[in-house]
């Protein structure tokens, strides 16, 4: 529950950024709407601050590691960066010394020693040591999982997700969200539909490409419960940048009950509006592309919607999950996500859209 609250918060922040961006863009041709007129810098300041803050809140940052693998990469990064800075200072300091401070000729012996020692032996040893260190931590990055296996398929532009608990012979199907038990290493098998994608949760570990017809694997071990964001990291078409996902690590017991709930068929629509929504869903043929387990809808072209109401985002990390978000998504799909495979249903009446949203939101 708390994670969900936090999430809506994050999403609101995201929308705020968009609004600020839109207003500031509009301000180029028209008068600025919100900020004081005539002071462009004052208008830009919040935008810059927000952009910086968005990078710092750690939801999608390799510099805020929350997984065992990300932590190793983080230390690798800092060691390399520190070493590079020291080397840079040494080399340039030496340049400065011989060109500005002590410009006298140096002895042949000293110069040879500097070239052979500093130019050949030192880099060879440093690179060799870095190579050995990198190689020694590489196998751990891909250690085998401890029970749960996820099978994730990159589609254009969303994620098909299957959970295979240990010993299961049918998967629990979900989409556009990765949930993991905290403190455990989960195995993740990666595939792709038509083009290459790349699966990346910066806070938890390194990235791994997903290929059509060739399975790759990785494993992740979140160190604590929390909520992060993943992103497709290989250009895959028009909406590549909008191919993200929410990541939730939960205490193992919570995870088990969540997974159990995901395995259940959809909850039947409750109130009258939701029931009307279910009928519209059937009438409009949404079930040709979407599955809602426990109903006639069995399509597999788009994400499984059985529990879409309990998700933290819509359209693979693109929108929030308010009723309004559902309506916007269904009516203006292509405007939100260019070239998306789902047609926009802008011919539906406002009342129909509201009912549909009520139905989908109720699929918890």
């Amino acid at each position: 529950m708390t994670t969900r609250l936090k999430q809506t918060d994050g999403q609101r922040k995201l929308r705020d950024v968009e609004i600020v961006m839109k207003t500031s863009m509009a301000g180029k041709s028209r008068r600025p709407i919100s900020a004081e007129p005539g002071r462009p810098r004052a208008r830009l300041a919040p935008l810059v601050a927000l952009a910086l803050l968005a990078g710092c809140d750690g939801r999608q940052s390799v510099l805020a590691p929350a997984g065992a693998d990300a932590r190793v990469l983080d230390s690798l990064f800092w060691v390399m960066l520190t070493g590079a800075v020291i080397l840079w200072l040494l080399v340039n300091g030496l340049f400065f010394y011989v060109m500005r401070i002590n410009r006298g000729a140096m002895s042949r012996r000293f110069a040879d020693g500097l070239i052979i020692g500093g130019g050949v032996i030192f880099p060879t040893v440093v690179l060799g040591a870095l190579l050995a260190w990198g190689l020694s931590i590489m196998p751990d990055q891909r250690a085998p999982g401890e029970g749960l296996t996820l099978r994730v398929t990159g589609e254009q532009w969303w994620w098909r997700v299957e959970y295979w608990p240990e010993g299961a012979d049918t998967p629990i199907v979900a989409a556009n969200e990765i949930r993991l038990p905290a403190g455990q290493r989960s195995e993740i098998l990666l595939n792709a539909g038509r083009v290459i994608h790349s699966f990346w949760i910066p806070a938890l570990g390194g990235k791994m490409d997903m290929f059509p017809g060739r399975e790759t694997r990785m494993s992740l071990k979140p160190e604590r419960a929390g909520n992060w964001r993943g992103q497709c990291a290989e250009f895959c078409g028009a909406s590549h940048a909008l191919m993200a996902f929410e990541v939730v690590a939960m205490p193992p017991d919570d995870f088990d009950s969540w997974l159990q709930a995901q395995a259940a068929p959809a909850t039947p629509p409750g109130d009258a509006a939701a029931q009307r929504g279910a009928r519209i869903f059937a009438r409009e043929g949404c079930g040709a592309c979407h599955a809602v387990r426990g109903t006639e809808a069995r399509g597999a072209v788009g994400p499984d919607l059985t529990h879409v109401g309990s998700r933290l985002s819509l359209g693979a990390g693109t929108l929030g999950t308010t009723l309004e978000d559902f309506e916007t998504w269904i009516a203006h799909t292509g405007a939100i996500k260019p070239e998306v495979e789902m047609p926009g249903y802008d011919h539906l009446t406002t009342a129909d859209l509201a009912d549909l949203a009520q139905y989908l939101k109720g699929l918890e």
Partner: protein, 135 residues
């Protein structure tokens, strides 16, 4: 009687052949490096795909291949060092274009190539020795 200072009839041809050979020789150390790299890469890929159980043995074998490659490179390097003849001549560079200079320059180049090939072989062997699995 033949004059001592007159070149023997086949001397020039002989010398030319030796230089041509030494031109070939400077490529041998990099060739050893390439052979080592391709062998390691190819065999590990093959074993991991077809028979992961044999990986331990493969790594041992490739360790020996590494030693062999390093021995070959060391031997080539030693011969090149002698050809360069830095110790006796003290010529670090050989700027003049006489036969002797060319001879020593090729030795110099071969020493450097042997050095970089040895580093290449060691770097190439590190993954084989440090990565214990096919993962």
């Amino acid at each position: 009687m033949q004059d001592e200072r007159q070149p023997r009839p086949d001397e020039e041809r002989h010398e030319f052949r030796e230089e041509a050979e030494s031109l070939w020789r400077i490529t041998l150390a990099p060739v050893a490096w390439v052979a080592h790299f391709v062998t390691s890469y190819g065999i590990v890929a093959l074993v991991c795909a077809k028979a992961p159980g044999l990986l331990g043995m493969t790594r041992g074998g490739l360790g020996l291949a590494t030693l062999l490659a390093l021995a070959v490179i060391a031997w080539l390097g030693w011969r090149a060092w002698r050809q360069w003849d830095y110790r006796t001549t003290g010529d670090y560079t050989n700027a003049r274009g006489e036969a002797e200079d060319r001879h020593q320059f090729l030795g110099h180049a071969a020493v450097l190539l042997a050095l970089i090939s040895a580093i290449g072989v060691v770097y190439g062997a590190l993954p084989v020795l440090l990565l214990e699995t096919c993962r």
